[in-house]
Symmetry: D2
Subunit: 151 residues, 4 copies
């Protein structure tokens, strides 16, 4: 069994995670409930940051928070309980003080698109006040800005 397992996370350009749809994530339509996509996106960000040697738990200890200020999801086709999904996350800085993570989720078997979208994050101190991204954060994602890659 492989419920969640990164299978290649070396650069801000692309971090891939595999996971299975939990029973608790389904609804009476028989597929995953729409809000679960945002919970999965967050798992993708967690692994993206870990792969960059900046685990988010560590960032919060340094006093840097990345609250979501915008989220967008497009639902492409159904995924059911226990389906194995393949999620690709890509990070980039937007303007001077925001992080954007683009996400694509497809079926691991066959590659059918399931959902895609993005989240945009402020960079704040622990009180929620916006701050400039620290240099170690800015450097990581600087080369990630590459507009034509985005929908």
């Amino acid at each position: 069994m492989v419920k969640g397992q990164s299978i290649g996370c070396q650069t801000p350009e692309e971090c891939v995670v595999q996971f299975r749809v939990r029973y608790s994530e389904t609804d009476q339509m028989g597929t995953f409930y729409n809000s679960r996509a945002l919970e999965w996106f967050e798992c993708g960000r967690t692994e993206l940051l870990r792969s960059l040697r900046l685990p988010y738990a560590e960032m919060e200890k340094r006093g840097v928070f990345l609250p979501v200020i915008e989220a967008h999801v497009e639902y492409r086709s159904r995924a059911r309980y226990d389906d194995l999904l393949h999620m690709t996350s890509r990070g980039s800085l937007v303007g001077k003080a925001r992080l954007r993570v683009d996400v694509d989720i497809v079926q691991s078997n066959g590659g059918a698109p399931v959902a895609c979208g993005y989240t945009i994050h402020a960079v704040t101190d622990p009180t929620g006040k916006p701050i400039r991204p620290p240099p170690w954060l800015a450097e990581l994602f600087a080369n990630g800005v590459n507009d034509e890659r985005r929908r």
Copy 2:
């Protein structure tokens, strides 16, 4: 105590619901976790449809489903456990076969904006196959199409 209570839902133009942030909806940042907004949006849709005398449970019994195909949320400011929130939902048809619901959530006390966004819904049969909205659905929302009201 008023945990959820509609306080005016007469037309597709505007249905208002009040509810409180649950403890289970917070995260370690001390505010509501981002995906909860989509769960609240769904509560707003439920009450919007009920107020139009088309409870969604009834629609599904008639074989008409409204799966979310797109969702968008903008997070404006913090809301904490037990905060009383005021959510306004407005429905309209988009093109020939899609329903759009715009949502605004503000603090009941003071009116500070918390989150806003929209969901777009396909109209499908029980197997997920798109269908034309039945006349009783189309008529309800026909007058709701009014682009300048939207962000």
Copy 3:
């Protein structure tokens, strides 16, 4: 619409709340997912404490936390999306330093039992260290100890 509404919360003996099953709380079996019961129990506790003029948010500000240390649920019969449920919560002190809340959930229409159970809570400071219940907490629930009322 009445999504959540207390309909009688005067004593630790009995606080009643009404609410509807959310679509997000269903699973592919067509009924509410089992863990949602614990989220509902928490809504009952919130209203129980509010009705006693000790809102839990206020308690946490005073430095008193009530983390769950034990939870038990028995599932009696199905409840579906949009079903209106009637939840009764009763609080009592257990021993010198624990709070117990017993919960019963039934269908508002007809009274069919849906789920029942209890949670047991430690009384702690903000770091999670057990403390003696402050007098204002102990007094409230002192008369609630009444073993024969419990399953």
Copy 4:
């Protein structure tokens, strides 16, 4: 990264899964919200059944459902966002028509106990009507009945 990964699931006696606490699973106390334990228990059952070559999705296709009729959780110590947890699930038949799964969750690093408990499941047809466990189900767990192993 290892978000969820079984590390040994050969018998009904013991199936081990590793996973990380998701950000969405925390609450404002800074630890996982209590109901998440029941969602994790379900992940353990999923992998237990898969390891026995009876994936639950397959069982439902055969018309056999295992709704939870009782759940019990004891919370031992805190687990925080991104903590790596180690969950052991053990299945056994109870009486003639019920399945019991005992679960222990500990920190992967150091082994501190996090939560333990059990779920009891009816064996039903798709309408929720109790049935006798089919022979292929009964045989699997027959040897799992071993009372002294349980709390």
